[in-house]
């Protein structure tokens, strides 16, 4: 009993690390543009698809293929910003959000065209070994994903707190006019934001594809990550990192303990129920910024 409990917690943490990684992309975009980008799930899929094509069809060496795929993702992010979002800057935010939804559909369709229904076997990138801790087994690949998520978290935290560009991004989210008067170009900041966010999504996509193989359901990770940032707070990198594993644990525990009682499917519902409860107590998420409103 307790072995199942411990191993489901550890498995949850490792799965949750991926949610955290993808959630970082959402947070980066929201921090500077107040847009929640639904396209993240699609970019993730495209990143994985490019990597697969380079490795399996073009047969590039692994490191080169990954670098090219990540550059491809970043360029995709820049293109999205330049050609779809910049023209409607200043228009209702919902229109921008809807565009990201349409982009998600587009990327999904492209991925379906290249990957086809059954999915593709992804060439092995990561160690396939397993650590044995007593009765609990931890796959090395998932541990690696976890470590990469932590490294990215540290990089992002330092970036936003100490670098000039990072501070400029935070300022852009606050007030366009003020930040422009400091001599910072808002459009450049937006481009950079989307580049970084797409890069993060690409990393997440490639990592997950190497663990789960390339198939369309990878896109679902985008939705899971959305719950993570809502519980954690839309602006909070710390929130994304801490809540990701918690959501992972919640999923595995509800699969193990609640599913037998209610007949399955709790994995997808439980995080939402917890999300509502958390938001009712803390309307801006656990680590989100409380907005002070004036008339």
């Amino acid at each position: 009993m307790s072995d199942i409990f411990i191993s489901s917690i550890i498995y949850g943490i490792l799965i949750g690390a991926v949610y955290s990684l993808i959630a970082l992309g959402y947070v980066v975009i929201f921090k500077s543009s107040k847009i929640v980008s639904f396209a993240q799930g699609g970019i993730l899929l495209i990143g994985a698809t490019i990597a697969w094509a380079l490795l399996d069809v073009v047969k590039l060496p692994i490191v080169l293929a990954i670098i090219v795929a990540l550059i491809g993702c970043a360029i995709l992010g820049l293109a999205i910003e330049r050609f779809t979002l910049r023209p409607i800057m200043g228009q209702p935010l919902l229109s921008s959000v809807m565009i990201t939804v349409a982009l998600l559909w587009l990327f999904d369709a492209i991925a379906v065209l290249t990957v086809t229904g059954a999915g593709r076997a992804f060439p092995p990138l990561m160690p396939s070994g397993v650590f044995q801790l007593g009765e609990v087994r931890i796959s090395q690949a998932q541990l690696l994903v976890f470590i990469i998520a932590i490294i990215l978290f540290i990089i992002f935290t330092i970036f936003y707190r100490y670098t000039k560009v990072g501070l400029a991004m935070r300022g852009t989210a606050e007030d366009h006019e003020v930040i422009q008067s400091f001599g910072i170009k808002v459009t450049n900041i937006y481009s950079l934001t989307w580049g970084i966010a797409a890069l993060t999504a690409g990393i997440g996509g490639i990592l997950m594809a190497s663990v789960l193989n390339l198939n369309i359901s990878l896109e679902l990770l985008g939705w899971k990550a959305l719950i993570v940032i809502l519980i954690g707070g839309l602006e909070s990198i710390t929130g994304a990192i801490i809540v990701g594993p918690l959501v992972g644990i919640l999923e595995t525990l509800s699969t193990v303990y609640i599913d037998p009682i209610v007949g399955g499917g709790m994995r997808d519902v439980a995080p939402f129920i917890v999300m509502i409860i958390v938001l009712l107590i803390r309307p801006y998420g656990l680590f989100g910024l409380k907005k002070i409103e004036r008339i």
Partner: protein, 349 residues
Amino acid sequence: MLPSGTYNVRYEQSMAIFRTRAQWILLALFLIALFTVPLYGSRYILSLISMIGITIIAVEGLGILTGYSGQLSVGQAAFVGVGAYTSVICMQRFEMPFLLAILCAGLASGLIGIIFGLAAVRIKGFYLAMTTLAAQFILGWCFLHLRSWTGGTEGLFVKPATIGPLVFASAQSKYYLVMVITVIMIFFAKNLMRTRLGRALVAIRDNDLAAEVMGIDLLLYKLIAFFICCFFAGVAGTLYAEYVEFVNPVQYTLEDSILYVGMLIVGGMGSIMGPIFGVIFMKLLNEGALYLTPILTDMVPALGGAIFSALSTAVYAIVIILFLVFEPKGINYRWTIFKNQYRLYPFAY
């Protein structure tokens, strides 16, 4: 804006929805055209227009919640589903007449909407949108797992609706049923938004703090907005279930909810015409994409037929993106500009 040379001299005139004689004539012609379609339209046309009508009801409700009162909801399809299941259960288990069942469906949807709307007391903006996303997933789970009521994955079969001696079984009669209810619901929505309630909702959308200071009970009005939105969803759900004679969890997915929001945005928010334009545009676009796919697959046969739906999705997505990039305010905004120019024609102002 009024046509040149028309002045409002009485209160009723400035309150009129249809102000000039030309507008009344156009309305009459439009209604006549709408209700004579079954005489010459094919089955395909009838089902297309009926589906557009049903979707207009659902999106019109969403327009009241999102467009007028500013509370984004991405759970509309689930509420449509609640309406569909409720009406079917009412009619088959409790043998209610159709008109009572449609009311029950609206009320049931509305009450469940209020439960999720209660979150709006504390949660605002995008966080609130995501609690309605939770509604989508939780209700979807209920459709699948409350087997004794909903039939689970198999769904339920629906008997044709009856009002007194009338039986709505054929495509023509269903068309009339859907169109009459759609017109009533649009009329209802239009007038509701011209009352104190409608103006209070707009005030909440524009600045909720200021609205509260002016004496608008935020909680009450937000809940009313949720109720109305979901009531419309419930009515749409009933009609949908009656139309396809079948209810099944896969008819009410997150994709549909997002599509409803998309229709609203493409049409233009904060107006009654917006959802109508949006639904017609997106439905026709969808039909066009479905029509185009076989042609595309013929041109590039190497891709094969398996990617049929993916191509139409891609076309669909590209058109929506282009549309929003060039007109982020929606079709209704263009339409208003066009109408004003037409009415003022010789003059530029």
